[in-house]
């Protein structure tokens, strides 16, 4: 595949090295002369000096035949513009933008960018996954269908303990897909399986239903009447 990368900082540089190693054709566009020089010294003519947001520079890089365009600078607005020029002026089929502000994920999608990658979001998700008190952790977002894959941890005081899978009033668009129980093989949770403390359940849900799903698995506070 032919991949064009705008931005030759650390992200662009390592991305380029990895893609070259996999046998892809790559060009990295970097506007800072020092960074460009370092890239050229180490990786050769795959580095090109110029502004990846400029149509003339993208034309020179042959972006009209690129399969994927990746904007990997450290500025969200530069990445947006570079991807849009690649997509709308040169019809690149797939554009990927690196973002800093996780809120830009939705905005960029609305503005036509095919995919965003947010380091901040990944780190937050990693942290959430590590913290045992978190009952629900988001593992993966299926943006194109508006669904997400989450992991639910069943604590000893969870109201679902002892209940059968079929008894649970799952919110809309939610499916329990996989049951992980220590010492057993991963299994699809059958309707007559009773949930046990320590179980981990991989579920599919929508962002709208996520709070209701979390509520279902959360221990009721001491004052609550519906225990």
């Amino acid at each position: 595949m032919y991949v064009v990368i705008a931005g030759g900082g650390m992200v662009g540089y390592y991305l380029c090295r990895a893609l070259l190693a996999e046998g892809h054709e790559v060009i990295v566009i970097e506007r800072d002369r020092r960074r460009f020089q370092r890239g050229e010294d180490e990786l050769g003519s795959v580095f090109m000096l110029g502004d990846g947001c400029e149509a003339s520079v993208l034309a020179e890089a042959g972006v009209e035949r690129a399969d994927i365009f990746i904007a990997a600078t450290d500025q969200d607005e530069d990445n947006l513009v570079a991807c849009q020029v690649a997509k709308y002026r040169f019809n690149v089929p797939k554009t990927i933008a690196r973002i800093n502000n996780p809120r830009n994920e939705r905005i960029f999608r609305q503005l036509g960018i095919d995919r965003t990658v947010s380091q901040v979001k990944h780190m937050l998700e990693d942290i959430e996954e590590q913290i045992p008190t978190h009952i629900l952790a988001r593992l993966f977002t299926l943006a194109d269908v508006g669904l997400e894959i989450v992991e639910l941890k069943v604590s000893a005081d969870s109201p679902v303990v002892g209940r059968h899978v079929s008894e649970l009033a799952l919110p809309e668009n939610s499916v329990l897909s996989l049951l992980l129980r220590s010492g057993e093989k991963p299994q699809v949770p059958a309707s007559d399986v009773a949930i046990m403390p320590g179980d981990r359940i991989i579920a599919v849900t929508s962002p709208e239903s996520e709070p209701a799903l979390l509520e279902l698995f959360s221990p009721k506070s001491p004052g609550s009447k519906n225990g």
Binding site: C53, E54, A55, S56, Q75, D76, E77, D78, L80, V81, Q84, V85, Y88, R89, N101, R103, I107, Q110, L111
Partner: protein, 136 residues
């Protein structure tokens, strides 16, 4: 009308003060407090510190009720991004953005943004003036 201006440089400050003087409701956003010194003492609008490409900052500036949004920071790409958020996320009826680079301006005009390139405007102006009969 309600107008939100992003960027309180010379252009932004002058636009803010003249719209304010004409009794419009003005909010001006800038990432540096020092820029607000360009506003006259008589300015009665809102000066808001923050990043105009951030949805929350735009909301605070009243973008949801704005009739017009103008992006005039020093950075073409910031102007382009903010203008698109105003137009496509908040559906502001009138959005104008400054793009210095004439080529980039062409791309975004084709995509439906109302853009002004000072580079082209000034070059045309100077050309007209040079070609006009000198006044004695």
């Amino acid at each position: 009308m309600n107008i939100v201006i992003m960027g309180c440089g010379r252009t932004g400050a002058q636009l803010a003060s003249s719209m304010d003087a004409a009794k419009h409701k003005v909010a001006v956003i800038d990432i540096s407090t020092g820029s607000f010194a360009r506003l006259p003492a008589s300015f009665s609008g809102v000066a808001l510190l923050g990043d105009g490409t951030d949805e929350e900052v735009l909301r605070k500036a009243g973008i949801e009720k704005a009739d017009a949004f103008v992006a005039v920071t020093q950075s073409d790409n910031r102007n382009i991004m903010a203008a698109q958020i105003a137009k496509y996320v908040f559906h502001v009826p009138r959005v104008i953005c400054r793009i210095y680079d004439p080529l980039r301006k062409d791309v975004y005009e084709a995509l439906g943004l109302e853009a002004i390139s000072p580079t082209t405007v000034f070059a045309e102006l100077i050309k007209d003036q040079l070609e006009a009969e000198p006044q004695r």
